[in-house]
């Protein structure tokens, strides 16, 4: 019974978190590609580019997690 409860709770959380993520996945991907392309074409010194690329990756992760 305890196992069943934990499993059903876990599946509920998974479904709830996955639903909006699936909807946003295309947007997240498109925005991530645009962000990277924008940064790569800034033609700024490479340290600044590295930091901004990291920013794109962080934003992508947050978008996928729906945060």
């Amino acid at each position: 019974m305890k196992k069943f409860l934990i499993l059903s709770l876990a599946s509920l959380i998974l479904v709830a978190s996955a639903a909006p993520a699936v909807n946003n996945q295309t947007d997240c991907n498109t925005n991530h590609v645009k962000c990277r392309e924008y940064v790569l074409n800034l033609d700024e010194p490479w340290y600044k580019v590295a930091v901004m690329l990291t920013g794109c990756d962080v934003a992508f992760g947050k978008c996928m997690l729906g945060i």
Partner: protein, 342 residues
């Protein structure tokens, strides 16, 4: 007696060899390809030609990303203004082609431009397509792409080379793509370098492309590799040219950017190919910890030997060489024109 004769003929051969070595020009280079590099390199100066001022706001470049020359017209892809700005070779502003949007004749972040058979082809990055314009600036078709195009080059036989930055979101991504004018894919190649660090990969996969004189193309990695790869217009790798060690890497270790310390062996910031020579601009080390655009352009021959260095009065982000003239984009995003005193 027989031994003596043998020795005499041997010394004759050695003397003949030495004679050729000293007298025949080019022998020294044949034996020691970097011999030229050991000698002091000729240093060419670049004299600036004043760009005439224009009353039009359109003449101001927002974010110029690519240059193309067609006879007396210079085309500059301006990503910020979503247009291609047309200048004369004296730097006089002539017109602007395209405007922001997604429809025919509209552009979103144009990052590359080239001219082929009277048509201006634009890498319309954020619309994921190549747009064609006639010389008057009217839309003349184009084709969709499954990726965001980066640079575009005109090749032989009404073909275009389109480059892309890898996204790690599609399987089997390639960096180079050759299309015909109708958008039919002819060839794709050059696999991106991949690892677990997407930032490191972004730098390792930054490439520069130059059109050769015979419809072929050259690919140069901006960091980590000192070779110039030559591809035919059909996409076959013809040769890999090792660049003279006298053209040094610019090594920096950028501070922690969330992925540990990133070691970069900067090779080339911008490049062009003209009249049989490569023009490579090495990046400049800034404050000992970063790499930015440089103030010199190295002239490298087709064998990879460094022939001379052109000194510029300012750092240049992009440039195009046409004979003794260099069209360049400076730190402010302005067009600068230089005459080279060889």
């Amino acid at each position: 007696m027989r031994w003596r004769r043998k020795r005499r003929s041997g010394s004759w051969i050695a003397a003949l060899f030495l004679f050729f070595l000293v007298t025949v020009p080019g022998w020294e280079l044949f034996l020691r390809p970097s011999a030229l590099a050991a000698q002091p390199l000729p240093h060419w100066n670049a004299r600036e030609t004043a760009v005439p001022p224009s009353p039009s706001d359109d003449a101001v470049l927002g974010r110029p990303l690519a240059l193309a020359l067609d006879g007396e017209r210079l085309y500059i892809a301006d990503a910020l203004d979503c247009a291609v700005k047309v200048f004369s070779t004296e730097g006089r502003f002539l017109r602007s082609i395209g405007r922001k949007g997604q429809g025919p004749g509209e552009l979103s972040f144009p990052s590359g431009v080239c001219v082929s058979g009277g048509l201006i082809a634009v890498a319309d990055k954020l619309n994921f397509r190549v747009q064609l314009f006639d010389r008057e600036g009217k839309a003349a078709g184009g084709f969709k792409l499954p990726f965001a195009p980066d640079r575009i080059l005109a090749l032989n036989g009404r073909r275009f080379l389109v480059t892309s930055n890898p996204t790690a979101k599609r399987a089997g991504e390639k960096l180079l793509h050759i299309y015909d004018r109708e958008g039919g894919i002819i060839w794709e190649g050059l696999e991106p370098r991949t690892s677990l660090d997407p930032v490191k990969d972004a730098f390792r996969n930054m490439i520069l492309v130059c059109a050769g004189s015979e419809g072929d193309l050259y690919v140069i990695f901006r960091s980590g590799e000192r070779t110039v790869r030559r591809y035919s217009s059909a996409g076959n790798l013809v040769e890999a040219i090792d660049v003279d060690p006298a053209y040094a890497f610019r090594n920096v270790e950028t501070p922690d950017a969330g992925h540990g310390r990133l070691k970069l062996a900067g090779f080339c910031w911008a490049a062009d190919f003209d009249a049989g020579f490569f023009y490579l601009s090495p990046p400049e080390v800034l404050d000992g910890k970063d790499l930015g655009p440089g103030r010199t352009i190295c002239v490298v021959d087709p064998r990879g030997i460094l022939r001379s260095v052109v000194g510029l009065p300012c750092a240049v982000h992009r440039f195009l060489v046409a004979g003794d003239r260099i069209f360049a984009i400076d730190d402010e995003g302005s067009l600068r024109i230089f005459e080279v005193d060889r």
